[in-house]
């Protein structure tokens, strides 16, 4: 009856050195990849054929929701946000929202309430409707 409560399965207070090192290496790799990408799109101009060609546009001739994103990135890196907005206004919303979702899903065990709120089916359906509406709208 009065048995002692056993210690928790993971009674950790400090993350181990290996764990911290792995996180630092991962963060550095991610930063490096982002820097390389930025350097590429700073130098190369997608308006002149650099970068990736859109499969959807090649097949159908219509713009996809992401068409213009590379040109917009090039313009942004050259300090022309207005020009970037003209190439593709959609990525100004889509990329931050997508990044936020990726982070929230990664932390969903630590913040289950937040995760439940943002992945509510009404919210996600609205996201899809927005994407499809923009897709159709930009080709009209």
């Amino acid at each position: 009856m009065t048995r002692r409560i056993p210690p928790l399965l993971t009674p950790h207070r400090h993350p181990s050195a290996l764990h911290v090192a792995a996180a630092v290496v991962a963060a550095l790799l991610l930063l490096g990849a982002l820097a390389a990408l930025a350097a590429y799109y700073y130098c190369a101009d997608p308006s002149e054929g650099a970068g990736l060609a859109c499969t959807f546009k090649a097949l159908t001739g219509y713009d996809c929701p992401g068409c213009g994103a590379q040109r917009a990135l090039h313009a942004l890196l050259h300090g022309q946000p207005a020009q970037a907005w003209r190439f593709n206004p959609f990525i100004f919303f889509a990329v931050p929202i997508a990044a936020a979702y990726i982070v929230i899903e990664a932390l969903r065990r630590r913040h289950p309430r937040l995760h439940a709120a943002v992945t509510d089916y009404r919210v996600t359906i609205c996201i899809v409707i927005t994407i499809v509406a923009y897709w159709i709208g930009r080709n009209l």
Partner: protein
Amino acid sequence: MKVWLYLNGQQQGPFNVEDIVDIPGLTEETLAWYEGLPKWYPAGTLPELKYLFDKETLGQPASGGQTTTSDDAEVGQVIENTENAVVTDLAEVTETTGETEAAQCAGTDGHAERHTAPEENVAEAGDTLAEEPSAETGDGVYYNPAAAAVAPRPRPACPPSYIGWSVFLIVCCCSPFSLAALIASVCVSSFYARGDMARARKASEWAAWLIMVTIALGIIPVALMSALMN
């Protein structure tokens, strides 16, 4: 029966078993302990607490009247289920904490226990059920189905929908696969909203695969082609 829970980074309790449905933040993965367990387990894997998270048995406690006459077949089923659940959930716990210490802990001492413990639990659950108002609990605290039916129930967490990746892939490399991934992502939250956990998990897997396929078939060949053309 008194239950201790590991919530918000600290051990809390004791709680009466019928009160813990009301505790905010309690999920299947919350670590729990009660008298007789060798160590802490995710609440969803414990036979005494499992009913809190079972959609099929909503309103009917797992330790209801009919299970007092436990057939051997039924008990065997329960043992099998809990055993699987414990193994996967422990794997998940160690994975999410990401602690090498935790991994070592599970690797060294947890291994033998992990397989024997659930059977003990089930046996013990059976024992306490057999001797009705239970001398062990002493204070006469027992599960009350009427109270629990009214109380709001914590639900198992939604499986990952990967919608962030799907949206990102729609924008950065549009293909039929990324559109399919986006639809699968939305299906996860829709099935979850309907309470269909099995389909939500399935959709989550689909979304993950479609995202990988999009990257493999969308970005890599296009990048290669672009590199060759220029």
